[in-house]
């Protein structure tokens, strides 16, 4: 396997009126071609900012980006904006969370689908129309020809998300970012869209990055998982290994606090007290220490580094779970 996207010490800072806000704090991630990786975290954990930065989408004057991003051997920071557009525009694609606002409401589906085909791939009107119909069939839209004439407002959320997927895969990307692709959808439609994404990924041989807050979605659809907290990766492992053998107390707490359909009716949920630390004023030690029920003095004083347990299971904790170190429960 070869690496398709490599992030090295990626840092993203925004200047805000309250000072520098470091949304992503030194993320290292190496995504192998052909795999599917889930990025899990709460709102504000930096998962969306990280994926947008990796696509070269964050370019405002208030954004500072450090670190190296290489996609398919090419380094993002070495390239001009024009080159980034050409390389990253076709090689990578993104599906956004909200299919209601990601499409232009006053343009027909056909014209939105054909845009990238004509601009990026230089197809003629006729070719792009034929390809659009192909794409719509691929995402299993009934009566694709009629669909080209419709406006987004005539479609349901699930249909719009299918259109978004069709647009995203139109230029044969090698890497597909799906940022909370099913959060705005109903459960039955969510199941259909996830199944479609998994099927397309295998058929078109794409690498997929699935950004979500839902551990259930990650469990069934990814090979690897990275858990983010306060702008850092705090645990990373193959999916089955992570669920079987959680090392980071945050991962475990998140997992336990989520209502699960398999638990007994009316059971009380264990909660994670408190909130994410203020992003403009990060704590000195471990970001999770203040909410962690296993926290020791060391956790507040020193920042833990990512360590490897075995076979690529990484964690960022001074006192990982499953260790024999005695610790007092506060």
């Amino acid at each position: 396997m070869s690496s398709i996207l490599k992030l090295e010490n990626l840092r993203v800072r925004f200047s805000t009126h309250r000072g520098q806000l470091e949304a992503v704090r030194g993320v290292d991630l190496d995504i192998q071609a052909g795999t599917s990786i889930g990025i899990v975290g709460e709102s504000g954990s930096g998962k969306t900012v990280m994926s947008r930065a990796a696509m070269g989408l964050l370019t405002g004057s208030n954004v500072t980006r450090d670190g190296r991003i290489s996609f398919d051997g090419k380094v993002l920071s070495d390239m001009s904006r024009e080159e980034v557009r050409n390389e990253f525009g076709t090689g990578m694609a993104m599906i956004f969370q909200d299919p209601m606002t990601a499409l232009n409401p006053v343009r027909r589906i056909g014209s939105q689908l054909q845009e990238s085909l004509r601009v990026r791939l230089g197809m003629s009107r006729k070719e792009s129309r034929a390809r659009s119909i192909e794409l719509l069939t691929l995402v299993r839209i009934p009566e694709p020809k009629q669909m080209l004439r419709k406006f987004p407002s005539q479609l349901s959320g699930g249909m719009r998300q299918r259109i978004m997927i069709a647009i995203a895969i139109s230029c044969n990307p090698k890497l597909l970012f799906a940022d909370e692709p099913t959060t705005a959808l109903d459960v039955t439609v969510q199941a259909q869209i996830l199944e479609l994404l998994t099927d397309l990924r295998q058929r078109l041989n794409m690498t997929m990055v699935l950004v979500t807050h839902d551990l259930g979605v990650v469990a069934g659809n990814t090979d690897y998982v990275a858990v983010m907290y306060a702008g850092e990766i705090v645990e990373q492992a193959p999916t089955t290994e992570l669920f079987a053998n959680m090392k980071m107390p945050y991962t475990e707490a998140l997992f336990k606090s989520i209502p699960n359909i398999q638990m007994k009716a009316g059971s009380r949920l264990p909660v994670i007290e408190g909130r994410l630390p203020d992003p403009t004023d990060r704590p000195l030690g471990c970001g999770f220490a203040a909410r962690c029920s296993y926290a020791q003095e060391k956790c507040f004083a020193e920042h833990p580094e990512l360590e490897e347990a075995k076979d690529g299971h990484l964690y960022r904790c001074w006192f990982p779970l499953g260790d024999s170190i005695p610790r007092k429960v506060s």
């Binding site: 959320g157 069934g220 209502p259 949920l269 909660v271 909130r275």
Partner: protein, 327 residues
């Protein structure tokens, strides 16, 4: 035709809804039956969850109970009062004992009011005590929902996070000591780690204030954690109603089974036993004849197209509206 097999004895229930219909006019001289002849009842101390996909009428149902959305026909009887025929002023006082919490906690609080004003408003409107008594009451309420009154009283609602705003909404809804709380998707706008906090809080408040809850949600995992009874809706109709444990372990309606099997399980070794469900809900403007779910149902027959299924007994206290219920 009556469809009341599942209703319990009148004297036992706090709320009884019969044949409730809510219609909306849509362009083209058509009407949408958002809630189409729905009957159910709620006993004191129960938590009834109303679940279904978007567009199934669950939110409209919640609003129609409070007469925020006037029903076209049907009855809503709460503690012996017929809410649909009350005068404006009687309805206002009846509403003090049924309160509502909304989905988006941030937009349901006035950003230009302090927390003290927000929680005090219902008390002030109903002249519950003098100013000092009311302030004490507000402090107790805030304490009960897990906020420190000294820190929050004079801050504005926009200074708070979603979870905190939802706590403030809960405090406000409890100010008049209602008997029933209608929660419309109270946690779906919140972060995963905050959801559990609010669900536990609702359960605590239920015990402390002796509340009866109607919990409207699309999230079957959340519903399982909080409800004692569950009612599944599809396109404005009740498909299935029964005790939570029974409905989850033995769903009798094919729609319920499909909903439950669509929920992703956070366990990579879990083998999905997907009950396939194809397509999306049809338009409520022109619902299918007979059983409304038949267009997506794996067990549909001709009978389903011609005759609408009535609710019938599937297990103890568990009723289903299906011609071919699952064994």
């Amino acid at each position: 035709m009556t469809n009341h097999a599942h209703l319990r004895k009148d004297s036992d229930v706090l709320l009884r809804v019969e044949d409730l219909v809510v219609e909306f006019k849509v362009p083209g001289n058509k009407v949408v039956n958002a809630v189409s002849s729905v009957s159910f009842d709620v006993k004191e101390g129960e938590t009834l969850a109303v679940v279904g996909e978007s567009g199934c009428g669950k939110t409209t149902l919640g609003k129609a109970l409070l007469q925020i959305q006037k029903p076209k026909s049907g009855t809503v009887r709460f503690e012996g009062n017929e809410l649909t025929s009350l005068s404006k002023s009687d309805l206002r006082s009846a509403r003090t004992s049924i309160q509502m919490i909304f989905q988006d906690p941030i937009s349901s609080l006035d950003p230009r009011m302090t927390v003290r004003q927000i929680v005090d408003e219902p008390l002030w409107i109903w002249s519950k005590g003098d100013e000092n008594e009311r302030v004490e009451k507000v402090k107790t309420l805030l304490n009960n929902v897990g906020l420190d009154p000294e820190l929050v009283l004079d801050r504005m609602s926009y200074e708070f996070s979603g979870g905190q705003c939802q706590r403030i909404s809960i405090a406000r809804s409890l100010a008049l000591e209602p008997k029933m709380l209608i929660c419309d998707e109270p946690v779906s706008a919140l972060d995963v780690s905050i959801q559990a906090q609010i669900l536990n809080l609702l359960n605590d408040m239920k015990d402390r204030y002796g509340l009866t809850l109607i919990f409207i949600s699309h999230d079957l995992s959340v519903v399982k954690a909080i409800s004692t009874r569950i009612m599944v809706m599809y396109l404005g109709k009740v498909c299935e109603i029964g005790p939570t444990e029974s409905v989850y372990s033995k769903p009798a309606h094919h729609y319920t089974a499909a909903l439950i099997s669509s929920v992703p399980i956070p366990d990579p070794t879990h083998r999905a036993q997907r009950t396939p469900i194809v397509g999306e809900p049809p338009s409520p403007v022109d619902p299918p004849s007979g059983c409304r779910f038949r267009t997506r149902c794996p067990a549909a027959t001709e009978l389903c197209a011609t005759e609408e299924p009535m609710l019938r007994l599937a297990a103890d206290g568990h009723y289903v509206a299906c011609h071919h219920p699952r064994a």
